[in-house]
């Protein structure tokens, strides 16, 4: 019933991207996100999408898996597009009919919102597809470790994230089993008003909560009986190490980042193109 959730699903193949240090991948994602927000020209956005495509090919994850992340936004994207299209009134008007008007600024903004959302979501899903949840939280813990200086509980936060991620599939599976057990007793989950349906969820939610609390207690006991006492003095089985691969990845990312910034500031491609277009139109 819940088998189709892709968010946070690791795609197990061996590739240069999979082998990168999780810290590197997190830094790459942050730089990528900043780049996505710096871009203001449609043409430069082509560069961003090309880079995304390049990373996907390098990661050996089928493109269809990466783009699956867009599917949950199939309503959000058109709504955002239309809202921006009709609400923004900057630039030259292109089309007016009674109270509706579309301007060049609106078209630009609408296109940008959609492209940005797609770029962000595919980037983030590529990270989770190529990194196991455990190494992801480990990378996060190491990246945030300077915050320990101000008594921020970095280790505890990372441990909580690891446990939460670890138990998502378990909870989904359990919810599925409970739902089946109650369906077998004739529970009707799908008909009636919204209040009736909310009430019909109780026979599922109660066992789910009871079992989760019990499991949490058992897990805490199991951890304590193996002498877990927080992050103090804890060492790692696999110590993260920067390798040549990581250096290359950071160099490529920096080159891409620099290219985006430079083109954005010194080569106003969009305005050059529009000027050229205008000239051609005038000639015609």
């Amino acid at each position: 019933m819940f088998k189709d959730i892709t968010l946070g699903q690791y795609f197990p193949v061996d590739s240069p991207v999979h082998r990168l240090d999780p810290r590197t991948k997190l830094v790459l994602l942050i730089m990528y996100i900043i780049a996505v927000f710096i871009v203001k020209d449609i043409c430069v956005f082509g560069l961003v999408l090309a880079f995304m495509l390049f990373m996907t090919i390098m990661s050996r994850v089928p493109l269809s898996y990466v783009t699956k992340a867009i599917k949950p936004m199939k309503w959000l994207l058109p709504i955002m597009f239309l809202l921006n299209l009709f609400m923004i009134k900057t630039g030259t008007p292109l089309f007016t009919w009674k109270f509706i008007s579309i301007t060049s600024g609106g078209v630009r903004q609408a296109l940008f919102i959609v492209l940005r959302l797609i770029a962000l979501v595919t980037g983030a899903s590529l990270l989770t597809l190529t990194t196991t949840p455990v190494s992801l939280t480990e990378g996060l813990e190491r990246l945030l470790s300077p915050l320990k200086a101000i008594k921020f509980p970095v280790h505890e936060l990372a441990m909580m994230m690891t446990i939460a991620l670890r138990f998502i599939p378990t909870l989904l599976e359990e919810a599925d089993k409970i739902m089946k057990a109650q369906l077998a007793r004739g529970a009707d989950l799908e008909s009636g008003s919204i209040f009736r349906r909310a009430k019909a969820m109780l026979p599922i939610l109660i066992p789910l909560f009871v079992n989760s609390f019990r499991r949490a207690e058992e897990l805490a006991l199991a951890m304590e009986s193996r002498c877990y006492h927080g992050g103090e003095g804890r060492t790692r089985l696999k110590v993260l190490k920067f390798q040549l691969n990581d250096l290359w990845a950071l160099l490529i990312m920096s080159a891409f980042f620099a290219a985006v910034v430079l083109i954005q500031h010194f080569l106003p491609i969009d305005s050059m193109l529009t000027a050229a277009l205008k000239r051609i139109l005038k000639l015609g």
């Binding site: 057990a181 077998a184 007793r185 004739g186 026979p203 079992n211």
Partner: protein, 286 residues
Amino acid sequence: MPIVVEHLTHVYQSGSINAYTALKDINMTIEDGEFVGLIGHTGSGKSTLIQQLNGLMQPTSGRVTVDGFDMNDKKQRAGGRALVGMVFQYPDYQLFDETVYRDISFGPKNLKLDEAEIDRRVREAMDLVGLDFEEFAEKSPFELSGGEKRRCALAGIIAMYPKYLVLDEPMAGLDPSGRRAVLEMIDGFRKRLGCAVVMVSHSMDDIAKAADKVIVLRGGEIFKCGTPAEIFSLSDELNEMGLEPPFAARMASELRRRGFALPGSIYTNEALVEALESFKRGDKNV
């Protein structure tokens, strides 16, 4: 009318790289009032198969009909499901209400029975599983012990008067006296309600004691279907599959190996004792 399974195949996550065929071309029939034992190694597809019997899962291809209700058809499914009572391995998956009484009445209430009938059925079900009404009716199901929870979960299904009772390892995690008690209970409702029983179990001894028919699953296919005598005479094949034949069958085959001419159809303790006694009397050809 029986439950008929025809050419049933089930593939998990079909079409993706993780596609996994759990069941392959299963054909079987569960007759009225029959006691069917379903055995197989872990991962042989037992759980997937029994969930198909009441339409909790739909086959990738093939068909299940329960007394003529086609379980592939969404409209007919509810009718078939009302006939098949399903008890899962862990009672924690189904107990939810404030009191044992209310929890057991959840199923009958969903069948839209009237109050008096519900009350009668809850009392009867509690009696059949051996939960004292005065003591347990007003208790919270979460205060019960493991064995009591299991009885309560069973009662919740029995109170629906299923025509077919499907049990997924009803004895897992119980001690020998608990196992015997559950087997006796199952026998009790069969006599009272005349229902057919499909029981998944890892204990061949329990299956040997109770079943009329045994189905052995291996790697998602029916390896063999027959009477307990036929199945348990195949001790070599069962051993190879990681299934341990019943104690009596193992004992008999060991004795046979050492030169005692015991018949091949021994699989219950009673039959073994009888054969050994007639041996003692000096009757060489049992």
